[in-house]
Symmetry: C2
Subunit: 416 residues, 2 copies
């Protein structure tokens, strides 16, 4: 008899769980739709091209759903594309679960170090963070870009009446943890000093210190904080992080936050104006100087391919220069300007990490050139993207000559 | 009009997804039940204490389900317990997602290096692997323990008629990757040589090489394999892995596989025979020698606590010595013998990593003593278990004196 009751109870539980699933799915549907409309109401971009518009792919359930039949992201290289897409999906899953854990119980966040400058990669990082916080049901109550606009009082005011246990400071992810970009690090240290008891969660960063003094200062401030959690986005940065902060702060190895946005092939729906975009960084980070006109002209004209050399650092979309524009608007507009910039070419040669990242998410076949000793791209690639090294998908090489040869070879084999 | 159709389509999709959830829940229920019965049919343990019996907690959906109200794992330290339990749940989630990704498309596995010896920690690792493979719907078609029972032909025969793309070799996780235990490593190298084109997936390991020659041999074999993926379980091992294999093999940082089993407070339902178990390793790995009788007698008798000093290395449960017993039976029986061994005391002082791990999962307050330079426990703790360093839950210290003092302090404060 007790066996019968036991079995019945189980079925009731199962039916209850099923009912819960239905409710959850409705709620997820409703939330995503309303959020995506809200987020884009005042921006230049149409809501149909927003990351949130593919609402099902950003719902937590989709992380485990078996993917339905769809066109390969890299159409002419379907087998390589499938392997790479699995790696992209995995990174999104890792990010969701890590930050769900880090922000457990948190309802309000302050974003520290919003990237208020034209670098499209850093804007993509902001958009990834925004999307993730939204999916976790966390409201962003404060944002600041630098020590110039940061104010302890303003941040304190934005938390007025809120239980401090429900609040976290979120440090912007990217390549600026350390002393390559000391202004950014100075802001973070100030916030850690000003709010010693509020949880601080870092979005994934590269870690790089040249000055031991500056490292020691940072360590002193970070270790004095009661609950500051760091995240490195590649294995070398993780190793440095362990050496520098491993005894005092929690530190995880997680992918770059832009992968949280997932594949967005629809962002390629742009008029193509050139065959190959050579995206060569003009800030010479790591001493890299690419974009030798003569080389490209001779090689590509022989293959009857057009090209142009450009960077996404120096210009802003018009809406982002509007003095009335909010940080959110600027971040989104710069992100879409960056993806549009990439989508106007069929193939890409680039030396920026986020040109690599966004080309993967958009499905643009590309080769990354890295001659920098920092090895930012290569270290990232080895940590998370080995499965994306596929003919017709992507590769990382150490010279522009090799990059050109590889693209031409893929073209000849009809892989791109 | 198209808008209306669009909305209708969405609702149909949602209802379809809901229906799928119902079906999935039924299938999950059915699978877990039948597998758990099957797995335990011939063992001494009752199925009610098996990891699979809490079927809902091992279903992939539960990873995202909000946890229902339940008793804290560490009853007298509820706040610390909640933080630690979140860290335990997170590790399970990481493991599920990583191996789901690694075994994507795999239907059959061969387990290489089954731990056919009385060490209860290694048996727990096997049980974690077994549970995970089961949850991923992967059938184990072959197992071997060492070069003595391994046979290329037997393994080949077990794969007869199976598409090689659906097969993976699974390397047992634990502390034996490297030359601390060269026999284990020799077996893995042989399998990598014998099956150069079958995917090899490692369960999480510590990595430790003393001999550069042996490291070079291993690297040569591993790099020659077409698809061998490594996993380190702590940050130091990960760093060594990056240095040794980082250019040739895929390498991830994931938790010890035993955390896949999740909390099992019901395994503490044993008659308690002593207050404090001092689990002191007798193999002296890392040069550790603990278990000074005089010290414990003087300290604990003053506090009116009984204790005993023992290790779980040298003895086997009777069923595991049965010459007819399968590897599966032996692994499960040793695992349950290990948890029973721990559960017969109220508190624990230990120098073994898996005494730490299993005490956390069972909810036994404990202090780990680590004097070894390898820092196996400490490195693991810093990588994944910082949030379990809580009064009344667990701690890692560097002397037996400190461990005793900490337990006595917790006792005095009524935290244990």
């Amino acid at each position: 008899m007790s066996q019968v009751i036991h079995v019945r109870t189980k079925y009731v539980l199962i039916l209850g769980a099923a009912l819960l699933s239905v409710v959850t799915l409705f709620v997820t549907y409703w939330n995503n739709d309303s959020l995506s409309l809200d987020g884009f109401r005042n921006t230049a971009s149409s809501s149909s091209s927003s990351p949130s518009s593919s609402s099902s792919s950003s719902s937590p359930f989709s992380v485990f759903s078996s993917s339905s039949k769809k066109e390969p992201l890299f159409k002419k290289a379907p087998i390589g594309s499938a392997k790479c897409e699995a790696a992209l999906e995995y990174q999104k899953t890792v990010l969701y679960n890590y930050y769900k854990h880090m922000f457990d119980g948190i309802k309000y966040a302050a974003i520290i170090n919003f990237p208020d400058y034209p670098n499209k990669g850093d804007s993509a990082i902001y958009v990834g963070e925004r999307e993730l916080l939204k999916d976790l049901g966390i409201e962003t109550v404060y944002m600041c870009a630098s020590l110039n606009d940061y104010s302890r009082e303003a941040l304190q005011n934005s938390l007025e009446g809120k239980d401090p246990k429900l609040v976290a400071m979120a440090f912007q992810g990217g390549g600026n943890f350390g002393d390559l970009y000391p202004d950014h690090q100075a802001l973070r240290m100030q916030v850690a000093r000003d709010f010693p008891d509020i949880r601080i969660v870092s979005f994934p960063q590269s870690i790089w210190f040249n000055s031991e003094d500056y490292l020691n200062q940072t360590r002193e401030v970070y270790s004095a904080h009661s609950d500051l959690r760091l995240a490195a986005r590649d294995r070398e940065s993780y190793g440095r992080g362990v050496n520098y902060f491993g005894l005092t702060n929690d530190l995880a190895l997680v992918p770059d936050i832009v992968f949280y946005l997932g594949p967005h092939p629809e962002l390629r729906n742009q008029e193509v104006t050139t065959d190959v975009l050579v995206l060569a960084r003009r800030d010479n980070e790591g001493g890299q100087k690419h974009g030798n006109e003569q080389l490209y002209t001779s090689q590509f004209s022989a293959a009857n391919l057009t090209y142009r050399i450009d960077d996404w650092l120096d210009w802003d979309p018009p809406s982002a220069t509007d003095p009335e524009a909010t940080f959110e608007q600027k971040g989104l507009d710069r992100y879409y300007a960056g993806t549009e910039f990439l989508a106007r070419s069929n193939y890409l040669i680039a030396d920026r990490l986020h040109a690599h990242v966004l080309s993967l998410l958009l499905g643009i076949p590309h080769v990354v050139v890295e001659t920098s000793k920092m090895g930012k791209v290569r270290q990232y690639h080895y940590t998370w993207l080995r499965d994306c090294t596929q003919p017709g998908v992507s590769a990382v090489v150490d010279s522009e000559e090799k990059a050109i040869q590889m693209l031409l070879e893929w073209k000849e084999k009809n892989l791109i």
